[in-house]
């Protein structure tokens, strides 16, 4: 691929030959793309093209049938397929080391490992902890960074209280970034829809991710809210150094915001490049033809 050699923006995520089958249905077929470090990238395509399936594979909710996904951490690349836990192979019988590693990941691996590796996500239909307050939602997201020692917590030791105070301050800081400070003590389920969307992104940021995957962040928002959101997303990248990959139907937002677009159709990558290239790619125009989506949104 063309961008592999870019020394200033090395890839943070490499997807190669990703294939996903549900029973007899081929949902993804040999999908390969890269996301560069520090970029805002978008994954677009008509309904049913497999965008969310790609997301679910990336974030560990689906186990890909075939293919490789690598996340480049500062020191090493993390194999996202391995940490989900793979089925045992016959060859494991002669190689105790791989057997042990597979067994370990089978018992303790799973989706949460992907999040710990540094990928955070939001969901198409907002998934907040509805009967908990906004601030508690953010505290839960910091679970791994906190003092989780049961004894310390029950005895309320100084170290434990400090850790909780820090978490609370971090949570408030994020609430302020997302202009949600007023809602801190309200139940997440009772917030207005737009606030819920923002709270979900704030919660994802609280995990301290390297790569943030947003699944249709603007769905259901009015134009003003969408505008605010795109500012916010840019701010996250610029000020907090997180790489962003998003799925979006609002072409205006995608074109304005993203630097790199991957277009999917029927589970295959049909175009990959900067917004201008993609917008004029014949395959993309064909895929969207009749819906006028590209033209409408660009005008």
């Amino acid at each position: 691929m063309s961008m592999t050699g870019d020394p200033i923006h090395p890839p943070i995520l490499e997807v190669a030959g990703l294939t996903m089958r549900f029973g007899g249905i081929l949902a993804l077929n040999d999908v390969s793309f890269e996301v560069r470090h520090g970029s805002i990238s978008a994954l677009i395509g008509p309904n049913g093209a497999g965008k969310t399936t790609v997301f679910n594979c990336l974030t560990g909710f689906y186990k890909a049938t075939e293919g490789q996904i690598a996340l480049h951490a500062p020191r090493a690349a993390i194999d996202l397929i391995q940490i989900l836990g793979q089925p045992f192979q016959v060859s494991d019988l002669v190689n105790p080391a791989t057997f042990a590693s597979r067994l370990y990941y089978k018992m303790f691996g799973g989706t949460h490992r992907v999040a710990r590796a540094g990928i955070a996500r939001t969901f198409q239909n907002v998934r907040l902890f509805k009967e908990m307050t906004a601030i508690e939602n953010l505290l839960v997201a910091q679970h791994l960074q906190l003092n989780r020692n049961l004894v310390a917590g029950l005895l309320q030791t100084a170290a434990y209280r400090q850790s909780e105070r820090d978490a609370l301050e971090r949570a408030y800081a994020w609430l302020k970034v997302f202009e949600l400070a007023e809602d801190a003590n309200r139940l997440a389920g009772e917030l207005p829809y737009g606030h819920q969307r923002r709270l979900e992104i704030a919660r994802a940021m609280c995990t301290g991710p390297r790569l943030l995957c947003l699944d249709e962040p603007a769905a259901g928002l009015n134009p003003r809210e969408t505008e605010q959101l795109s500012e916010l997303i840019r701010q996250l990248r610029d000020e907090h150094g997180v790489t962003i990959l998003l799925i979006e139907h609002d072409m205006g937002l995608v074109m304005r915001l993203s630097e790199h677009i991957v277009v999917l159709d029927y589970g295959e990558v049909i175009a990959d490049g900067d917004p201008h290239t993609v917008a004029h790619h014949p395959a993309v125009l064909a895929a969207y033809l009749g819906t006028d989506a590209v033209n409408d949104d660009e005008s």
Binding site: T59, G60, F61, F108, G110, T111, H112, R113, A115, R116, A120, R121, F123, R127, L128, F129, K130, E131, M132, T133, I135, E136, N137, L139, V140, A141, H143, L144, L146, N147, R148, L150, G153, L154, Q156, L168, E169, Y172, A173, K176, A181, A184, N185, R186, L187, G189, E190, R203, A204, T207
Partner: protein, 436 residues
């Protein structure tokens, strides 16, 4: 809304229509009641013959019809309407209440009052009421434990009684084989129950909601059956005796059994079994208080928040890097520990246990306590445990109709407050200088 709502104009009620509606509904209720009760209540099996008692269902059906008639009429009076509206409005309230820190501080005085009352109760209550209170306290403990699993972590456990049994048998068998006393068995039995929770929980906690329910039900039954069948070790249906608790080596028995000195002899007072019950009550009360503190703290700790988050949305939790299996397991084990402690108290209070005390109905009763209390509410669980254990005792006045009435009340309470008696509360957070 019944179709009659159309007949209610803004200015008043057209009573002739309401009346007709009421008559129709009463007739339907009468016919249905007769169909349902006619054979079961009216024709009593006597060997291979039936005895005609049809006057009974006729009477009951007439009462039901009359009741239905009056209710329909009452629902159309202004008072009835407002009552109905208030009833419906309350059902629509959000499930959780957020209270500020200052408000929760005010509650401390209430807490203090309750503690003082609870501590003086054993001096006032008769032995009978004291035993009822001890039982209620045991169920409070069980409710608090299961509330962690069902109320906080959202895992429906229908076999909770298994851990209760492990605790109870831990004391009884520990005393029989290892010569353990009450105080050494208490932590050991709790740990044993936690171990059971871990071993049983690990393979099955990946299952979803109701599958987990039936598997835990299965575990509960398996444990009971093994206790019943393993005659050589557990005594099977014959049960085992459990030792009474000791106070620094003093025994609460008429004569010393385990090589100690009886309490009454040491203090040169006459023997009264009340002493034992007061002692068990006080120890139990302290444990319950401790448990309330532990549960309250747990809820505000990372693990407690993770439990509740898991109940709200497991998928979101996984996306945040929380290992859902381990978090569930911690809730399961914590619940099991509390169940084990309750079991130890049950065994020492009864003095003798056998597997019949640990059947499915017990599990169902504990789940009912948690649900009726308001899933996740500590206060609610305590209130519900008291209600569900004291109510059957109060209903003894109804003699044979006791359990029947208990069932009816259970249904009515759920209809009255489907989300439980007490709404769970959440504490609001305040950080200086950052907000407001």
């Amino acid at each position: 809304m019944p179709p009659i709502a159309a007949a209610v104009s803004t200015t008043g009620v057209r009573w002739n229509l309401v009346f007709r509606q009421a008559v129709l509904e009463a007739t339907a209720a009468f016919a249905l009641a007769l169909l349902l009760l006619g054979p079961i209540v009216g024709l009593v099996l006597d060997g291979y013959q039936v005895r005609n008692e049809l006057q009974r269902p006729l009477l009951i059906a007439a009462i039901i019809a009359a009741g239905r008639f009056l209710v329909t009429l009452a629902m159309h009076t202004p008072t009835g309407q407002t009552a109905l509206e208030r009833f419906n409005a309350r059902r629509r309230q959000p499930g959780v209440l957020v209270v500020s820190a200052s408000e929760s501080d005010r509650q401390r005085w209430w807490l203090l009052a309750i503690v003082v009352v609870s501590l003086t109760l054993p001096l006032l209550a008769s032995k009978y009421w004291l035993t009822v209170l001890i039982q209620a306290m045991i169920y409070v403990l069980l409710g608090l434990g299961l509330n962690i699993v069902v109320g906080l972590a959202g895992l429906l456990d229908l076999g909770y009684v298994a851990f209760y049994a492990v605790g109870a048998y831990g004391l009884a068998l520990g005393a029989q084989y290892l010569d353990l006393g009450f105080w050494s068995a208490l932590p050991l039995a709790a740990m044993l129950a936690a171990l059971f929770g871990g071993v049983l929980g690990f393979p099955v906690l990946r299952m979803h909601g109701d599958y987990l329910a039936i598997v835990t039900l299965g575990f509960g039954e398996i444990i009971r059956l093994v206790l019943n069948n393993w005659l050589e070790f557990t005594g099977g249906p014959n049960g085992v005796s459990a030792p009474a608790p000791q106070l620094f080596g003093l025994e609460f028995t008429r004569t010393a059994k385990d090589g100690g000195v009886p309490f009454h002899e040491y203090f040169q007072i006459s023997y009264d079994p009340l002493h034992r019950f007061i002692f068990i009550y006080l120890v139990l009360f302290l444990i319950v208080c401790l448990m309330v503190v532990v549960v309250t703290r747990l809820r505000n700790m990372p693990v407690g928040r993770a439990w509740e988050a898991l109940r709200e949305d497991e998928i979101a939790c996984r996306a945040l890097g929380i290992n859902h299996v381990l978090v569930k397991l911690s809730a399961f084990m914590m619940g099991a520990t509390v169940g084990g402690i309750a079991g130890v108290f049950f065994a020492t209070y009864q003095g003798f246990i056998n597997p019949t005390s640990f059947n499915f109905f017990e599990s169902a009763l504990i789940v009912a306590i948690v649900v009726l209390g308001g899933l996740g509410s500590t206060t609610g669980v305590i209130v519900a445990a008291l209600v569900l254990t004291i109510l059957p005792e109060l209903l003894r006045a109804f003699a044979d109709y006791r359990v029947f009435a208990f069932g009816v009340l259970m249904v009515l309470m759920m209809i009255w407050r489907p989300r439980g008696l007490i709404r769970p509360r959440r504490r609001a957070f305040e950080v200086k200088g950052l907000c407001r």
